[in-house]
Symmetry: C2
């Protein structure tokens, strides 16, 4: 196993009763306290929030989407303008995905060959060929702190043969990504694929560790399978991964999924759920979801959560409801701020619980409240 | 002339070469430095901005819309929840309009009688009868610092007969508004109507001054007439109005219109232009308008205005353009912040120019730059 020391992952504390870990990841643009949640800034902006507001939610690191940014405004332009950090005005760490998941979910997939993926742009239908080397070149132009390898994502359920074909290809692409990297100031994380097949997952993880990366992600989950299936895969994959390197569960998820992921040894998460739900008038709270358009909030003078210090919780539920009923932008804005703040508070509470050796109680409490 | 001393208007300085005035209006929720621009918070929110961001633009006072708020969420509800200030989280002064202009411009007008206006709600088509007394009751429920009298607004051009009929009715309605007022902590401004007819304007102003109000607005302008027509009416109306009370030009306007209004003795303005243009990708600058979707900004690393300290101007024009091209909410948000900041800086510069006795030079400079 080749391990990088250029982007040290401090292992601060291990929970005694679960696999939860408290860590600190050192990156070129700063330190990420783990477990960490990364808000998604798909097109160079966390939807509806100024960069000050994003920082105010407590985020240490953002995710940017290579697929979207490479199509518009283009990674060459962003590089010319000083990179993604400068372009969006965020001076803390950024992780960029590789585009693999977006090609799978958004693009009209034409063909995957050993060379790369050929697909149609969702913007103008133009034909694009993306090889692993292209994804790394683009991510190097964006200048993120962490680049992800290009992986071959497939729809589930799939045959064992299709799963193994895609996960073996993902390993070969990961090797090519590593070989293509030029920047010294950018970490690279590999992505463990293998669908819901335990053998394929373990094989993929072991092969990627042979190549050696700065961190390991678990990909291809949260695509419609029942949550217990996802937890089962984490139970199998995490013990195989290096203990002294960060682990990232991609695109997950609901608050309870984050806590369950932490209990299984995951350090990093990203998801559009807090902002997407915020735009759709749904608030996350410690006791579950609130639909803010409901008539029950119409004259409710209390905030969404009394102990939340976010901007939204300076207002009444009645006001938030009014904003959504009136179609005002401020409704989605305030609820996105609240939901991101909720996710960051959940991560902060999880970190404290691990440090103070009562993560299992925290986990059980969240299972009761959130599940 | 009956003059209120409950809401003192300090007359700080008169320009020597124009009619420009520097004043300070004392209201229950604070002090307004004049000349002042009021951002419009139609539905209990300045579109797209948190209340902290509104304050950050330099606004001293907001405008709220009686018509919209009375239909949704309802003035009774806002009163129950502690009034409009508390509802929207703004603790500085608020002026509410009377609904007269919105009934004219938005509602399907059915009938104006001496008793009041009957119209259809633009939300659900329900039939509403609004008398002057109703408008005041609603504004007292909202709890604004300044209530406006209900006026009879008509489309221009109109016959002299129609103009006089409406402006005389506006005076009688203003009397009824004054008689209906109960709250002691709310100023009431009258509205001078009279279309583009100088005699009707002067007659209306004199009749309103006989009744006596805390301030005087000039209404029914900026409805499509050429700007010189508006300036001509101000040249006629302002000299008639009391020098020791505030004057408010309703719904105006472009930056140059504000400066021309100040030169004629106007103290207060409101307009949706900075936020509406912001949402439509148009930026105000000291040298005129910028269309931010233009290809010319695509790789421009400079801010909209180098000497502007707003959030938008921490970013490049290229980034702002990208946000609009990508359909991201942050584009309208940042440009609304910039445009409101621009309007407030213009007012601040005008106030300084009056204090320092060089307002005429300032006026001429703005005529060159903006017109």
């Amino acid at each position: 196993m080749v391990q990088s020391t250029q982007f040290p992952f401090e292992f601060l504390h291990a929970d005694t009763k679960t696999q939860a870990r408290r860590g600190r990841l050192h990156l070129p643009h700063g330190v990420v306290e783990t477990p960490a949640f990364m808000p998604v800034g798909t097109q160079g902006t966390v939807k509806g929030l100024t960069i000050d507001q994003v920082a105010g939610t407590g985020a240490h690191i953002l995710l940017g989407n290579t697929y979207h940014l490479s199509l518009r405004p283009g990674s060459e332009l962003i590089a010319e303008l000083g990179g993604l950090h400068r372009f969006m005005g965020w001076d803390k760490p950024i992780l960029t995905d590789s585009g693999g998941f977006q090609i799978f979910s958004l693009g009209e997939m034409n063909k995957v060959t050993e060379d790369g993926a050929t697909f149609k742009s969702h913007l103008d239908g133009s034909k694009i060929h993306l090889r692993p080397e292209d994804s790394i070149r683009i991510q190097e132009q964006l200048g993120s702190d962490i680049a992800m390898v290009l992986d071959h994502v497939i729809a589930l359920p799939a045959s064992d043969e299709a799963v193994l074909d895609a996960s073996d290809r993902s390993v070969r692409w990961a090797q090519r990504c590593k070989a293509a990297a030029v920047r010294q100031d950018q970490a690279m994380f590999a992505i463990v694929q293998g669908g819901l097949n335990p053998n394929a997952r373990v094989r993929c993880a072991e092969q990627l560790m042979e190549v050696g990366f700065d961190g390991y992600a678990v990909g291809g989950l949260s695509v419609g399978e029942p949550p217990p299936e996802m937890y089962r895969i984490l139970d199998i994959v995490c013990p195989v991964l290096p203990t002294d390197q960060p682990r990232y569960l991609m695109g997950v998820g609901r608050p309870i999924d984050l806590v369950e992921g932490i209990a299984r040894g995951i350090d990093m998460f990203d998801c559009v759920m807090p902002t997407r739900n915020g735009r759709n008038a749904t608030a996350f709270t410690a006791n579950g979801l609130l639909k803010m358009r409901n008539q029950s909030h119409a004259s409710d003078d209390s905030p969404i959560e009394p102990d939340c210090h976010c901007l939204a919780c300076k207002h009444s539920r009645a006001y938030i409801r009014h904003l959504f009923q009136a179609g005002e932008m401020l409704g989605p804005i305030l609820l996105s701020i609240h939901n991101l703040t909720f996710y960051q508070r959940l991560m902060s509470s999880a970190r404290s619980a691990i440090e103070e050796d009562h993560f299992e109680e925290f986990l059980n409490e969240q299972r009761t409240r959130l599940a």
